[in-house]
Amino acid sequence: MYGLQAIAVHNGWAMALAGALIVFSGLVILSFAISQLHKALNIFEKKHVDVGQEPKISDVEPPEDKPWISLPKQFPTDIKEVARLYKPLVEEIGETFYLSQLYEMSKKNNFPHPHITLTAFRESNILISDGDGVFSWNPPTENDDNENVEG
């Protein structure tokens, strides 16, 4: 059996329609759930903030909108080189800072793709989380490439 008749006999139209609807509704529900996830987490975390234990955040105001760092024309790809370019920004903010502060400053100074860079810093442990959204700077050393795993 071939053609539209075969589709109808094997219940093809219903399977295709129901299948498409199920996969769509499943991903719509999942999409909605994860879109609310960070909001739910924010509400939950606000309830648990102990004001007396807030970490000390530098009160240094980031410099005004004008960029003050001159970037090389060819932005480096090596994470250590990029970290060296970010160092003046970190020195301006202080020892501990919110990620958003560093993000804003890098944007003001026209650093390309700050979000991706900050994610890479976190994965390379150049940005260390001190908890509650506060981070500190752990500059890479020349020996980082030569570290051996022990034990």
């Binding site: 071939y2 094997h10 399977m15 994860i34 879109s35």
Partner: protein, 376 residues
């Protein structure tokens, strides 16, 4: 002299027929594309070599071939026909996948759903061409552009088609740079291709840890038949994100997935013995696979354009093409097509969001088709 003649009559040179020669040529082509052209080498090299191994002619009854019980290849093939290897591959994929971009822009998940329409259109096409419902479902899943998912569903519904369907699925995944860009360009204007996507927000670790647990519950409650794929996929992702089981995550995304991929590729390749593989059905499957993959790409792009009618902040419709689950090939292709118009346009992270939702979507589709068709 008789002994020598008997030996010669049992050699592959004597037993070979034209079908073995054709398949050996196909296997050699896969090896060439994988090793010399670097087209999906991790897939094409094991499959290509498997095709060579599977098409060495042999004397039936010695327990040598993949379809003969007690042969070594037959035991290795067990992981394919039971759906074991795809499930293990999904564990490794989960341990590799970073859902940050998807969590930052959940609306892109809809493109992963839209690209699955290729599966359902192909289901209708395969039925219309005379395939039985279980065969049609197995062929349709090629539209998900996910090799392990295709093999998994085919193993459950139409095990006799594993060879052609797996080869078709992996071939089209390797041919993404050839198939997808013309469709993307055909369906979008230059102005649309130039649309830049905003920087993604920072995603907290808590979100990344909670997501696999929420994902597995929501998806598997909806389509329980997708548990073998999505269960391991989200488990692998949880290992990666929880931060305290890095050793397990590392093993899952390296040694475990590599081992499964080697045996999966080799045995799927070896299952393409000329006399079993070279049939009219295989040709039709390849044709339908191309249709499925093209419709999937087009559905994603068209759906992105439809979304733009309602969204204030427009999305680049090229991203729709990454809704198929060929990770990361289709995301890379979207990025390259975007950059060919505007070298400063970085679509990769957004495309990865669509890509990872495509993996989830195609696994759900496999579960849906399995539950629809298993009783027929």
């Amino acid at each position: 002299m008789d002994l020598l003649f008997q030996f010669l009559s049992n050699t592959g040179y004597y037993l070979a027929d034209y079908r073995n020669v054709i398949m050996i040529a196909v296997g050699s082509l896969f090896l060439y594309l994988g090793s010399a052209k670097s087209y999906e080498p991790l897939l094409l090299i094991p499959i290509g070599f498997g095709i060579l191994v599977g098409n060495v002619p042999f004397f039936k009854g010695f327990g040598l071939g993949i379809y003969e019980s007690n042969s070594v290849l037959h035991y290795l093939y067990f992981g394919v026909v039971t759906g074991l290897y795809p499930s293990i591959v999904f564990l490794g994929l989960g341990a590799m996948t970073d859902f940050s971009s998807l969590l930052a822009r959940p609306v892109l998940m809809l493109l992963g759903a839209a690209a699955q329409m290729g599966i359902f259109f192909t289901l209708l096409g395969a039925l219309a061409l005379g395939f039985l419902p279980k065969e049609a479902g197995s062929i349709a899943i090629i539209g998900g552009a996910d090799g392990p998912t295709s093999i998994f569903l085919t193993a459950k519904l139409a095990p006799h088609l594993i060879g052609p369907i797996a080869i078709a699925a992996y071939s089209y995944m390797a041919l993404i740079p050839v198939i997808q860009p013309p469709i993307m360009r055909l369906l979008t204007s230059r102005k649309e291709r130039l649309i830049r996507m905003p920087e993604l927000r920072e995603v907290s670790k808590k979100e990344r840890v909670i997501f696999p647990a929420v994902g597995v519950l929501l998806c598997c409650f909806l389509a329980p038949a997708s548990i073998p794929l999505l269960g391991t996929f989200f488990f692998g992702n949880f290992l990666k994100e929880c931060g305290v089981a890095e050793r397990l995550a590392q093993t899952a995304r390296t040694a475990i997935i590599d081992t499964a991929t080697i045996f999966l590729g080799l045995t799927v390749g070896a299952s393409t013995q000329g006399d079993v593989f070279l049939t009219g059905k295989s040709v039709l499957i390849f044709f339908l696979g191309a249709v499925a993959f093209s419709i999937a790409t087009a559905s994603g792009v068209i759906f992105a354009k439809i979304m733009n009618l309602f969204l204030k902040e427009k999305i680049n419709p090229l991203l729709g093409a990454a809704g198929v689950s060929a990770v990361p090939g289709s995301a890379r292709e979207v990025h390259l097509v975007g950059q060919s118009e505007d070298p400063e346009n970085y679509l990769l992270m957004h495309a990865m969001a669509c890509n990872s939702s495509g993996v989830i979507g195609s696994a759900i589709c496999a579960g849906i088709l399995w539950s629809f068709l298993v009783g027929l």
